[in-house]
């Protein structure tokens, strides 16, 4: 019987890993959306994490924990740099600026021969694994709930609902925005590192606009009322194409149909419940 389970685990290993990694990406999107910002740079930050970690693993052979620190740190630093000029932007303008970031980085990888240029980087060692990925997800989820239910979470929600009013109430809006972008970049970077180390190969095109939109759709499909929304949204969008595999030619049709139905009939997302707050009236 254990052979049966081992075989099952082998067959669906990368799907299971994908669920965890994409859920982490959904959470990174949640962190910025929770403060009312629309960033399309999550894929770019994921790419920075993936490239930074892969280069350290492949070229320097560093151990995985060290690599993970870089995978979170480098995108966070970049987010810090980027947020200086973009902090004043909001809504669609921030989205456009972050799309630009993704494109700039893509061209950078393409012309960076040390990192394989357009050919990408292959032979990335197999690291991480089930417990690392889902452990990280559980930890981040717990942290998101803890922060969400605290004073900080309330401040974030206030900013999302009305930035000016929040500012008048004494919330340091720019600092919150900065922190949200930096933290979400670090989370996306970690997801990028996990993804690179389980698929063995990365290329510049993996972190382009399409992926930014896919990550956004995890959060939007799941709903952003609580951190669980993006996580379940990511689970669903990752699992659907594989669950529908037996349908062969029709699977993408049905996949699209399901997503469109959710958007039309459940515009607030599949999981639209809200977090309970400490001291909130029931």
């Amino acid at each position: 019987m254990s052979a049966f389970f081992a075989n099952l685990l082998f067959t669906y290993q990368s799907l299971i890993y994908g669920l965890g990694i994409n859920a982490i990406l959904g959470l990174s999107m949640y962190v910025v959306l929770a403060i009312g910002q629309l960033s399309l740079g999550q894929a770019a930050f994921m790419g920075v994490g993936a490239y930074a970690s892969s280069l350290l693993s492949v070229k320097l052979g560093l151990s995985f924990p060290v690599v993970l620190v870089a995978a979170a740190g480098v995108p966070a630093m970049l987010a810090l740099l980027v947020s200086v000029p973009t902090l004043r932007l909001s809504g669609v303008y921030l989205a456009i600026a972050t799309i630009g970031l993704g494109e700039v980085l893509r061209l950078f990888y393409v012309n960076w021969d040390y990192a394989g240029g357009a050919l990408g980087l292959s032979g990335i060692p197999d690291r991480g694994g089930f417990f690392t990925i889902f452990g990280t997800l559980a930890l981040l989820l717990a942290a998101a709930f803890a922060v969400g239910r605290s004073r900080i979470g309330r401040a974030m929600e206030a900013i999302r609902e009305d930035e000016q009013a929040a500012g008048v109430m004494g919330i340091d809006v720019p600092r919150y925005k900065l922190a949200a972008l930096v933290i979400s970049a670090a989370i996306a970077g970690i997801a990028g590192a996990y993804n690179a180390h389980v698929t063995a190969f990365i290329a510049p095109g993996d972190y382009a606009f399409d992926n930014a939109v896919t990550i956004l759709s995890y959060a939007l499909l799941g709903g952003i009322g609580s951190p669980l929304g993006p996580v379940f949204g990511a689970f669903l969008l990752t699992a659907l194409p594989e669950l529908l595999r037996p349908l062969h030619d029709y699977r993408l049709v049905l996949n699209g149909l399901i997503i469109v139905s959710v958007v039309i009939f459940m515009p607030r997302g599949l999981f639209s419940w809200h977090m309970r707050r400490i001291g909130a009236a029931k």
Binding site: A6, F10, A118, T199, F201, A203, E242
Partner: protein
Amino acid sequence: MKFVQLKRGLRAGALAASVLATGMAGAPYAMAQAKTSVQLGAIEVLSGPNAKYGVSIKSGFDLALSEINAAGGVLGAPLAIHYEDSAGNKDQAVNAVRKLIGADKVSLILGPTLSGEMFAAGPVANAQKIPIVGTSTTANGITALGNYVFRTSLPESDVVPVTLKAARDKLGVKKVAVMYGNDDAFTKSGYDVMKAALTKLGIETLTTETFGGKDTDFSAQLTKIKAMNPDAIVVSALVQAGAGIMLEKKALGFSDKVRIIGGNGLNSPKIGEIAGAAANGTLVGSPWFVGKQDAANVKFVGAYKAKYNAEPDQFAAQAYDTLFIVAKAITAAGAADPQKIRDALVNVKYSGVLGPSAFTADRNPADTSGVVVLEMEDGKFAPLK
């Protein structure tokens, strides 16, 4: 993985037991093996923007499959292919390879379609010691992924030197300008190959210019090239950019004698459709040509047209030959055992629509004698005279 083999062993054992239980004497293991069909897997891009490649390849496989099974299959049993769609996405390609090995228990995997997918999926199959055979993966380093990774598609490094040699020997090309798209894995690796081949053939490179795959304006690069007066322009580009370069070259008043010499990216009838007369004289090397007059090819093109009501392309031709090569290897191996098939594949010799094929020691195609140099004439490729 041990578990996979263990499971396979258990299944074969159970089959053998059931055969014995029903009272059939003889060699139960061999009979159980012969009764079940030989399972192959194929991972191709069957949806999304690159689906045209995957669909062509699948058509090629299906045609070969029906011919092989009509002739009795292999090892006395029909051959079966499990198709999986990768949608051009490396993560899905990895999921597919795991499903084919873990759930469908295939003995060999065909595909994936794109080199990027192979870089992700190849190591998984290799680690499980299941042979994986790419029919359209031309990038450098594919077979370096491991001892179980094969390809039947001639890499650019085999085709481009033949094209350039023909240009030098037949057309007297001595000095060239080089242009390549530097933001795409395929066109960049094509350039690396061209650079090496030009040096080896002693053709002088006057200048090397780059562009982006989505660029539409090439006037800066071409104006510079025109002033240097090359014999030809060597271009590594995909169809869109390649056709743009040809139109711009004509607009800038280059002499018709200055030909474009391209890699596999320009080997598409679309070039003629987009660039029209500006494409005339373009040279490309191709592992296969629809108008090849040998008996095997005429039969293949006829059968393909009858079945699909369309002309085959090189991807279909490569897939068609590959399945015959694999079938021959399975017959030589004498069992649907991945290790035995892998060992037989290394030594298999086959002659099909692409001409003679065999594998080198590093599992690349060994024979380049099938390469044809084609010249664009009035919107159609024809062999260079």
